[in-house]
Symmetry: C2
Amino acid sequence: MATLSFTPIGTIYTPHTTLQNMPIQPLGAKGIRGKIVLNKAFVEGLKDLEGFSHITILYHLHKAEDYSLLVTPFMDTEKRGLFATRAPKRPNPIGISTVQLIAVNNNELIIEDVDMLNETPLLDIKPFFSKFDNRDGSKSGWLDDLWNEQKKHTKSDGRFA
Amino acid sequence: MATLSFTPIGTIYTPHTTLQNMPIQPLGAKGIRGKIVLNKAFVEGLKDLEGFSHITILYHLHKAEDYSLLVTPFMDTEKRGLFATRAPKRPNPIGISTVQLIAVNNNELIIEDVDMLNETPLLDIKPFFSKFDNRDGSKSGWLDDLWNEQKKHTKSDGRFA
């Protein structure tokens, strides 16, 4: 298939400077602040964005080289199909994260719950709208199992017994 | 900034063959079925995906040429900043949609609530997990206003009075 070319529209700055100890999803990055610096040529496109509490950002997983079709996800022990995981090493290493939008100052956006590496190239900003984007009652296979399993462990590990 | 190259991993087939009368978001495409045909080279990566009721797909908005930083969205009358809209004509025309996963048959996925054009190039498949992806209590600026306004109109248009 034909190759597609994209050019980053800005850069995401975060406190995460190494691949070790990265938060898992914005859920694991609660309260951690970062900053988007948008190329000034695009600043007019930020109009009306301040009314949104959350934005979904698309970015290049720029340190993810190569990929495997079977991966062992964080906190799991079994090999899973890559497309059933959020592992960063993918045929097209594009990440998506829904983060809190704290402030817009000209071409700079202060954001919170950042789970991407420092100096990540930004591809797009989309407004989050719960009516479009939330899904209630969804089922999530191995992730549901893992989530329930870990809650169970949390409840029953007995360290205060 | 350096140009990034991505190669589609498959094709999304839908009943939408022209840009006219396209559904607005999966919400406007309830029950409309489509099919993903993944390149066979990637089929191993689909392992474990059947346990998920929803997937978020990333794709090339392949008929969106050029872009403006101010756009008048569907069903709105005011010009909005592009990044506060989901308009398809963007600096990097990458679309995201969370669709229902109905079935996986080898390298073919039957999906529902499809809001993209027929023969859309697929870039990535990510599993949807409500714990990661839902946001409760979010605020969505002009989209909230429009949503509330249109609900009000629906209730008061008086056609059965």
